[in-house]
């Protein structure tokens, strides 16, 4: 194995990992604030991809240009979903919560298939396409831009949570609902904010992915397993944890594949994941 292949693969892994991270951040945020696992998160990603696709094919607007719009749409969708459905199951048994989000997942897939057919679609000739040579590495431009976008969006979410009053209120709700309420924080507002931001992150990830990954109703399934691993690995509810864990999973996946054989790449990720769970069940950056 040459140096070039090693670094080339490493770079691909990091870029893929950044996408995993962005998907996982939304998931971990919702869980952190509400203790509800959102099984429909992959479908938010799918909706983000379709939103980009339709804006591109109907109005010739580039996915990167429409990313804010897509994120906004998903934000509204997340809030709406919370107001209509999730609010009713906040105090329901965990099993009901699981089935609710699971049901949303199946519903969204079905609706997508009904409305947009199960065809595979792609966005051809977006503003970023092809690949460039950077430090001797051949990098896909869409992947590079997607990675960069993921870093920016994650930083923005991080900044929001840690440097703004609203973010602080959200964090406060996450760490203790009751205490936060006593301090005058409207927890329903915080919950719908969490769903909005969570869905917006998935939507943004979808928009970034749409420039290089095929778009189809089931596309969420390909990403959601890794997103769950990332959330767990990073520590439930930890945004920075999800960020680093996302990169880690992306890198382990491709490097494991390269070193041990591609057939083992998912196995390597899951074995390391199990190891972390055994010795550090709260995840790498989660609070014990």
């Amino acid at each position: 194995m040459t140096f070039e292949i090693f670094f080339q693969t490493l770079a691909s892994g990091i870029l893929m990992g950044l996408i995993y991270a962005l998907v996982a951040i939304g998931l971990t945020l919702i869980f952190g604030v509400m203790d509800i696992v959102n099984f429909a998160h992959g479908e938010f990603l799918m909706l983000g991809m379709y939103s980009s696709f339709w804006l591109f094919s109907l109005y010739a607007l580039d996915p990167l240009l429409t990313l804010p719009l897509t994120a906004l749409m998903l934000f509204s969708f997340g809030v709406l979903l919370y107001r209509l459905l999730i609010v009713r199951i906040i105090n329901a048994p965990m099993l009901s919560q699981i089935f609710t989000t699971f049901g949303i997942m199946i519903l969204l897939r079905g609706v997508a298939q009904f409305l947009w057919k199960p065809d595979f679609r792609t966005i051809e000739n977006s503003a970023v396409s092809g690949s460039i040579k950077l430090l001797g590495l051949q990098l896909g431009e869409p992947q590079l831009v997607a990675g960069l976008g993921a870093v920016l969006i994650t930083s923005a979410v991080y900044f929001f949570l840690n440097r703004t009053r609203l973010g602080a209120a959200l964090e406060a709700t996450a760490s203790d609902k009751e205490a936060a309420r006593l301090m005058g924080i409207d927890s329903h507002k915080m919950f719908s904010l969490a769903w909005g931001i969570g869905a917006a992150c998935a939507g943004a990830a979808g928009a970034l992915l749409a420039t290089f990954f095929p778009i189809f109703p089931d596309v969420g399934a390909n990403f959601i397993l890794m997103a769950f691993v990332v959330v767990n690995l990073g520590g439930f509810g930890s945004v920075t944890g999800a960020f680093w864990a996302g990169i880690l999973v992306g890198v382990i996946q491709v490097m494991g594949g390269l070193l041990l054989g591609p057939q083992y790449k998912t196995a390597v990720v899951l074995v390391i994941f199990l190891g972390v769970l055994m010795f550090r069940p709260q995840g790498l950056m989660g609070k014990a």
Binding site: M1, I5, Q8, T9, S12, G13, M16, R109, G110, Q113, K117, P118, D119, F120, R121, T122, E124, S131, Q138, G140, Q143, F212, F213, P214, F216, P217, D218, V219, A221, N222, F223, M226, Q253, V254, M255, G256, G257, L258, G261, P262, Q263, K265, T266
Partner: protein
């Protein structure tokens, strides 16, 4: 003796029912099991269209296609013009669901035969249910060789299977050397790791030395993967001339994108149907799909050798605004073969249909496939089927092998990515 009232009533009622059955046109219920939602839904929809059109031709006719059996549209003549009724079931590409749905079709929908199921792994489980229940199962698209090695009594397969297809690829490479003077060089395989891909991997490992080819590396991967970086890096490192590839649609698309991105330039990608035959493959990749060779069972340009192919395809196109593919043409043919058997059976009892199926003998000129015909051996395999190889030229698959059937000279090697326009 006094008959109890209830028995009398039942007798009268069943007598009425019987007379209804005689007078009303009989309906032949056939279960059709395909992936209608989930990852295989794109193909499943096409297959559904194909069998629906076949049933419609049998029931209502199609003008101007006299060579196609049942095109008069009078139902099944030996069953007093009985109409075909298709009962669809969705297996979501899940073997477990496939078995459950087959069970439901048989016990609740009372189908007389089942057609399906595209994915080999699902065909395996669904046909096992049919075998146990004693219901004929006609498979038109699954190519896993093991399906007809199970000593099943009720299983029939019209399509040629993987052993033959994989063998075809090696035969093609040999002939390329002998007849065109092109040396294929080193081979690698990249196959998905489901039942189909795994069997192909094994078979390629067995056939390569038989045909005296150097298979330098075999890579398998999950069809649900989000990236193929390490796979393609391993391929690059092996530096092969020819990639033998078995993929479903999303991963086939992803692989070509990754080849291009990482600058992987083999002389040829010799693909094994499935994803590469899906019309979405070309639609999605556009000109990046060019030059790929795929084995197939069907191509539109075969119409130059059999007018029936053009006539039926025109009808299909007028309905669905899309041409037949190797998949949909086989599903269409599958239902036609089953209808032929039920008609000859002159009965809807499973045993009669099974016997009729085993005596099937349809000539090639009555099929829209490039086959010599349909005739099943004792394992239920059609022995008259054969494959072709097609190459994507300017967005269309053209037949390039067998050389005597080719409508286009094979382009070899495929141009490198940075030299394409």
């Amino acid at each position: 003796m006094k008959m109890p009232r209830l028995v009398k009533l039942t007798a009268v009622l069943s007598g009425l029912g019987l007379s209804f059955a005689i007078h009303a046109q009989q309906e032949i219920r056939i279960g059709v099991i395909y992936p209608l939602t989930g990852s295989g839904a794109a193909v499943g929809g096409e297959l559904r269209n194909a069998v629906e059109m076949a049933a419609d031709i049998i029931n209502n006719g199609a003008a101007g296609i006299p060579d196609l059996p049942f095109s008069a549209g009078k139902g099944l003549p030996n069953l007093k013009g009985a109409k075909i009724k298709l009962i669809f079931a969705d297996h979501q590409a899940n073997p477990q669901t496939g078995a459950t749905e087959a069970e439901r079709l048989i016990s609740q929908e009372h189908v007389v035969a089942i057609v399906g199921a595209y994915n080999s792994a699902v065909t395996a489980t669904a046909s096992r249910v049919a075998e146990r229940a004693g219901i004929p199962f006609l498979n038109a698209e699954s190519s896993s060789a093991s399906l007809t090695q199970r000593n099943f009594k009720w299983f029939f397969r019209t399509t040629p299977h993987d052993d033959l297809f994989v063998r075809n690829a090696f035969e093609f490479l040999k002939e390329l050397e002998a007849k065109k003077g092109i040396k294929p060089g080193n081979l690698v395989s990249l196959n998905e790791n489901g039942l189909w891909g795994t069997e192909t991997t094994k078979l390629q490992a067995k056939l390569a030395p038989e045909f005296k080819f150097n298979l330098v590396k075999q890579i398998s991967y999950s069809a649900k993967t989000t990236e193929l970086t390490s796979e393609v890096q391993s391929l690059k490192a092996a530096n092969p001339n020819v990639v033998l590839q078995s993929s479903y649609t999303p991963d086939a698309i992803l692989s070509i994108k990754t080849y291009k991105e990482l600058g992987f330039n083999p002389d040829m990608i010799l693909a094994n149907d499935a994803g590469f035959s899906d019309s979405d493959f070309q639609k999605t990749l556009g000109k990046d799909a060019d030059y790929v060779i795929s084995r197939d069972v069907w191509a539109l340009d075969l119409a130059s050798r059999n007018p029936l192919i053009k006539q039926v395809n025109d009808l299909y196109f007028s309905r669905y605004k899309i041409n037949f593919t190797g998949n949909s043409s086989r599903s269409f043919t599958g239902l036609m073969v089953l209808a032929d058997a039920i008609n000859r059976a002159g009965s809807t009892t499973p045993e009669a249909i099974r016997t009729a199926l085993s005596q099937t003998n349809i000539a090639g000129k009555n099929l829209i496939m490039p086959w010599k015909g349909v005739r099943f051996d004792e394992t239920g395999q059609n022995v008259l089927g054969s494959g072709i190889l097609v190459q994507m030229i300017k967005g269309k698959y053209q037949t390039v092998w067998p050389f005597e059937m080719a409508s286009q000279e094979v382009v070899w090697p495929m141009p490198k990515w940075d030299q394409r326009k």
